[in-house]
Amino acid sequence: MQEVDNRFGEFGGQFVPEALMPELIRLNNVFQEAKTDPAFQAEFHRLLNEYAGRPSLLYFAENMTKDIGGAQIYLKREDLNHTGAHKINNVIGQALLARRLGKTRLIAETGAGQHGVATATIAAYFGMKCAVYMGKEDTERQKLNVFRMQLLGAEVIPVTDGQGLLKDAVNAALADWAVNAQDTFYLIGSAVGPAPYPAMVHDFQSVISTESREQMLAATGKLPDAIVACCGGGSNAIGSFAAYLNDPTVKLYGAEAAGEGLNTMHHAATLSKGSTGIFHGMKSKFLQDQDGQIAKVYSISAGLDYPGIGPEHAALQASGRATYVGITDEEAVSAFEYIAKQEGIIAAIESSHAIAYTRKLAKQMRPDQTIICTVSGRGDKDVASIAKYRGVDIDD
C-alpha cells in the first residue's frame, strides 16, 4: 500500500511528544534520500547478501504438501538468515540510516529477542553502543536470546512496568530515545511506531517478497496463490506481502496470536478483536478497553504478544486486501511439532502460527495451487518453553 502524507489509508501518522519531532523529521529526510541513492542501496544489498546470507531459500515442502494433500506448500526460509530470523534485514537498513545521521548508539525493543539479537549483531559489526529493552517476563521465557545479546556486547535492560512484555519494552525504549536522541537511534523492529518507521520496515523487509516472487516464477512459472505470514507488529508479514500488493490474484493472510482462544480474555489478536486507537506513535488497531486504556495481552509467543499492529496492516485489513486470522497456542505448538517431524525444520513459535494456518489453508486449496508460508525465524530459542508447555521437564 502506498504511504501518502505519513499515512496508510486512515492509519499511521506521528503521534509522539514534540521533543521527538525534529528527530523524526531528520530521520524521514535521510530515509527519503536513501531510497533513491544508489550508493545506499548498493551497500544495503551488499550487506544483505554478504553478511546476512541472502537470498534466503524458497523451499518446496514436499512432505507437508503430500501429507496435507491440498495446495503445494513453499516455505520462505528467513530462519536461515544470519542471526536466525528476518529481523536482520530491517536492522541492516536502519543501522545504515543511523550511521548517516551520525548516531553512535542503537537502542531497540524486543519481544522474543530476535530483533534484539539482530540489533546487537549489527551494533557489534558497526562498532556502535547498543541497549536492548526487553520485558521482564520475556527475559525469563527467552533466556537464551538474552545471553546471546550480552555475548554480542549489548546491554539488556529488563522492563518491569506493566506486564513486562513487548509493549512495555517499546515504552521504555521511547523514553530512552526522548532523552538521548542526540547520539541515539531507536531501531524499531516491527512495522509499528510513528512515520517513517512503518514505511522503513516495509521497505527493508520487502526483500523477502521481492525474492520469493522471482523464486516462485522461476520454480513454477506463475505467481503464488496465497502468502501466509505470522503477525505480531507485522514486520515479516509486511515484508512477505510487499511485492504482491498489486497482484490481486495473490491472497494475503496474516496469522495473529489467538492465545487461549479469540473468545477468551487471553490473546493478542489485534486485528481480529481490536478497535481503532492512537498509541506508540501511530493510529492503528489496538486491543483496548472502552476508555482507550491499552489492554493486557497473552500469547505463548513473546514475539506476537503485542496489543497493537502496524498501521499498514490495519489499512490492508480495512481495504480487504489482506485477511487476518487467529491461531491459538495449541495450534501453534502442534504446528511447531508438525513441521519438525515432517520437514526437519525447527521453526520459531511465532512462525509456527503461520505454519498452523498454512495447514488449514492448504487443505481447502487445489493441488495445482501454491502457498508461500514465511518461516520468519528458527525455533531453537523456543525449545525449552515448548517442552514446558508439553509438561516435559528439561534443564535449560
Binding site: 503521534f15 511528544p17 515504552n171 486507537g277 482507550g292 491499552i294
Partner: protein, 249 residues
C-alpha cells in the same frame, strides 16, 4: 476561550499537577481545592492513561495508583464536577491522545466544556497531528495547550502559529539554554510561556519563574501525593512556591 494572558499578567503562575483518582477521588478533589485556595494560578488535572510514555516513573506510578483505585474517564468527569462545586480555578486536563480519541474528540470537548475546563494538554499530539482535536476543543471554547520542545526557530514558528491559550516548554533544558529557548519562542508568539519543571525546591522554581510566565510541576506534586495523599501537604507546598515567585515581575 480563557484569557490566560490576564492570569499570568501580574505574577508568575504556579501550576500544580494532580492525577485524577490518585489514590482516590476524595484526595483529588480536596487537593485541587486546597491548591486553588493556596494561590495556584491554574491546576492541571491528569486523566490517567495506561501507558504514559512521555512521563517519568513518578507520574507513571501515580497513574497506576489511580487505576488501582478504579479510575475511569467517566469518574474523572465526576471528580471535575465535584471540584467545580468548590472552586472556579482554571482547570487544564492532561491526557494522552487515545483517551479523547476513543471518547470522540467532539464528545470529549463538549463534556469538558460543560464543567468549564479551560484547556487540554496532550503530550503525544504534536503540531502535525493536532488540527482535528484543536478544532473540536475550540468549538467548545477550550484551548489545546501547545507543547514547545527543543527545536530550530523554523519549527518553533510553525508549532506556535496555530497555538492558543498558553505555551508549555517541555522538556525544560537547563540554563542558559532555557532562556535562549524562551527568547526564541517569545520572538514567534505573544502567548504566555509556562515551563514544565523537573525541579522541586522553591529556589529552583524561583529561578525558572524569572524567565517564564508560569511554572508547572508534575513529579513534585505527584510525589507528595504518593508520600502523604493529603490535601494540606500539597496546599502548603503550593503556598511555598507561590511565595517564592511572588516577588517576580
Amino acid at each position: 476561550m480563557t484569557n490566560f494572558s490576564a492570569i499570568f499578567k501580574h505574577q508568575t503562575g504556579v501550576i500544580p499537577f494532580i492525577i485524577a483518582g490518585d489514590p482516590d477521588a476524595d484526595t483529588t478533589v480536596a487537593s485541587v481545592v486546597a491548591e486553588a485556595e493556596a494561590g495556584a494560578a491554574i491546576v492541571e488535572l491528569g486523566v490517567p492513561f495506561s501507558d504514559p510514555v512521555a512521563d517519568g516513573p513518578v507520574v507513571k506510578a501515580g497513574n497506576q495508583r489511580a487505576f488501582a483505585g478504579g479510575i475511569t474517564v467517566a469518574k474523572v468527569f465526576d471528580i471535575i464536577a465535584r471540584i467545580r462545586l468548590q472552586t472556579q480555578v482554571p482547570l487544564v486536563l492532561v491526557t494522552y491522545t487515545n483517551v479523547p480519541f476513543v471518547y470522540g474528540y467532539a464528545a470529549f470537548a463538549k463534556k469538558a466544556a460543560s464543567f468549564g475546563v479551560a484547556g487540554v494538554v496532550v503530550p503525544d499530539l504534536p503540531h502535525e497531528e493536532a488540527a482535528d482535536f484543536r478544532a473540536a476543543l475550540a468549538d467548545e471554547g477550550i484551548d489545546l495547550i501547545t507543547i514547545v520542545g527543543p527545536a530550530d526557530p523554523e519549527r518553533i514558528k510553525a508549532v506556535v502559529a496555530p497555538a492558543t491559550g498558553f505555551l508549555t516548554v517541555f522538556p525544560a533544558p537547563p540554563e542558559p539554554v532555557l532562556s535562549q529557548e524562551i527568547a526564541a519562542i517569545r520572538a514567534a508568539s505573544d502567548l504566555p510561556i509556562v515551563v514544565n519543571a523537573e525541579v522541586t525546591q522553591p529556589q529552583a522554581v524561583e529561578a525558572i519563574a524569572k524567565v517564564a510566565d508560569g511554572v508547572q510541576l508534575n513529579a513534585a506534586f505527584v510525589q507528595l501525593i504518593a508520600d502523604h495523599a493529603d490535601a494540606k501537604t500539597v496546599a502548603d507546598y503550593t503556598k511555598r512556591l507561590v511565595s517564592a515567585v511572588t516577588t517576580i515581575k
